[in-house]
């Protein structure tokens, strides 16, 4: 994985994460700041349909890693108290979390998965 573009933590910098089969459908991966250059951990999610999405990894409710959660359709269910978030827009869909998860843009181009840390989806 290498970083293309500037060193700024935010903005339109893309990080090339790997080829489009880097994640099995229905699984997720934690992208740490050493890879993304972004201050917070980012969760990269691949739906059963093969689409990629990225959210802040830490659940907005308490301390849990959304990349360890359960992907169902285009939703991620927090591993701890089962709040669900829309993968496309980060919207919180049920309690106990009460705020949305921050999204990060992911593009699939030329067979590569490109993450734009800090750029909303």
């Amino acid at each position: 994985m290498d970083s293309t573009g500037g060193a700024a933590a935010t903005g339109r910098r893309a990080v090339d994460l790997g080829d489009t089969e880097m994640l099995e459908p229905g699984t997720a991966l934690l992208i740490g700041s050493e890879t993304s250059g972004h201050p917070d951990d980012i969760g990269l999610f691949r739906t059963e349909n093969g689409d990629y999405f990225a959210l802040d990894d830490e659940c907005p409710h308490e301390v849990a890693s959304l990349s360890e959660g359960w992907i169902e359709g285009e939703e991620i269910e927090c591993p701890l108290h089962s709040s669900r978030f829309g993968l496309r827009d980060g919207k919180v869909l049920c309690l106990p979390a009460t705020s949305d998860a921050r999204t990060h843009r992911v593009e699939v181009a030329n067979g590569r998965v490109l993450l734009y840390p800090g750029t909303p989806a």
Binding site: G69, W70, L95, P96, T98
Partner: protein, 403 residues
């Protein structure tokens, strides 16, 4: 007749969920939640993050004040004194009367007092609402000798949090291994052993009396043992708050009886959450649910039923608990007829599955199980048959088996 006004008595999770779902389902009429507590808040943190000071009052609100304004949900900070049935309405403590086309009862439960001499003392602490948590927090300082009667969910969680706050904790329960009905004996033993492992004095015994001693308390056990402590917290379960319903003549039996759409015996009156108990179509009574998700699910069902819309489908019941850094989850029924299959990791049980003779899963519980219980609940809800060897093998992610 179209519904123009709905009153919800009690703004805990269940009452809040009714209001939220009514608006989400398009109900545009008058909607009010009556609760002296004001803005609805979440209870699980009261024994965990809120007690520890990691979360403040604002952090446990189920929604901010602005959300209620935006959704035109009135919050009436008052206690209901009586229900009126003809016409439907409620009478507040100051005598004011509010009327509505539909009434939802969501009054939750009250901490059950210890039925022994001294159990009624004002100085004996309980934990059900935010005020209780504030009082408990103010009673604990480093070195405080706290005795907790009842090592079920709340007692165990408070024991863990109080220990973290520096208290010297003694945990007393007449049952040798609490929580067996919830998680099965194997995991219950492991969970209970964590208390002593963390430095809590665990006592298997039955309190017979509590007396005040200067600034502290003395608990006498039935076998003559005596525990001297500063503070006593009793966590032996709840009694459902059914007094209003009973006085109004609604059918109750350890809970206000409701059908599968949360309708009480009185047309137009619904009951949800910890205070409601389901009477099945065959007339048998279900066990009263007392967990977080049950409160949310029954609230969602009532909202659909009130609006005569298709009710949501809920799966097997689910709960969690956190103590000593361990996250416990259970789904379904660990007491159902069947056998238990254990998953052992490093010589310790980490998950237990209750399986019927035909191989269907009836219940599951796990400690720090990651996605195990999420998988188990899908296996239960979808009736997937999983081979026993796969269930027992910690190398097989249950997730794969639930797809």
């Amino acid at each position: 007749m179209s519904i123009e006004s709905i009153l919800i008595v009690g703004g805990g999770l269940a009452g809040f969920t009714v209001a939220q779902n009514l608006r989400a389902r398009g109900y545009a009429g008058s909607l009010q939640i009556i609760d002296p507590a004001g803005i609805p808040y979440d209870r699980p943190p009261l024994s965990k993050g809120y007690l520890l000071g990691d979360k403040d009052a604002a952090a446990i609100e189920l929604a901010p004040a602005s959300w209620f304004a935006e959704h035109r949900i009135g919050l009436v900070p008052a206690t209901v004194r009586a229900l009126a049935l003809e016409p439907l309405g409620v009478e507040l403590e100051d005598g004011a009367v509010l009327q509505a086309d539909r009434l939802v009862l969501a009054t939750g439960g009250s901490a059950r007092p210890l039925p022994i001499p001294g159990g009624e003392l004002d100085s004996v602490l309980v934990l059900r609402d935010r005020q209780d948590a504030d009082r408990l927090r103010a009673s604990i300082a480093p070195g405080t000798r706290l005795a907790i009667v009842g090592a079920g969910l709340i007692g165990a969680e408070v024991a863990s949090s109080a220990l973290a706050l520096g208290a010297e904790v003694t945990l007393i329960d007449p049952v040798e291994t609490p929580l067996v009905p919830a998680v099965g004996p194997e995991l219950a033993r492991r969970l209970h052993a964590m208390h002593a492992g963390a430095g809590i004095t665990v006592i298997h015994g039955t309190p017979a009396g509590i007396t005040r001693t200067g600034t502290g308390h003395r608990i006498e056990l039935a076998d003559g043992r005596v525990i001297e402590c500063d503070e006593v917290l009793v966590g032996i379960g709840i009694t459902p708050n059914t007094a209003l319903a009973e006085a109004a003549g609604l059918q109750t039996d350890n809970g206000v009886l409701v059908d599968e759409n949360q309708r009480t015996s009185r047309p137009g009156v619904y009951a949800v959450g910890d205070m409601a108990r389901t009477r099945r179509p065959d007339g048998t009574l279900a066990r009263r649910g007392e967990h977080w998700e049950h409160a949310m699910n029954t609230g969602a069902t009532a909202a659909a039923a009130i609006l005569a819309q298709e009710p949501p489908v809920h799966g097997a019941s689910w709960f969690w608990s956190d103590r000593h850094g361990t996250h416990v989850e259970g789904v379904g029924d660990m007491n159902a007829d069947g056998t238990t299959i254990l998953r052992i990791h490093d010589g310790e049980p980490v998950a237990a599955f209750r399986v019927a003779a035909d191989g269907t899963m009836l219940g599951a519980a796990a400690l720090d199980g990651g996605l195990t219980i999420k998988a188990a609940r899908r296996i239960i809800d979808r009736g997937i048959i999983v081979p026993a060897e796969a269930l027992a093998d910690p190398g097989v992610p249950l997730r794969k088996l639930a797809r």
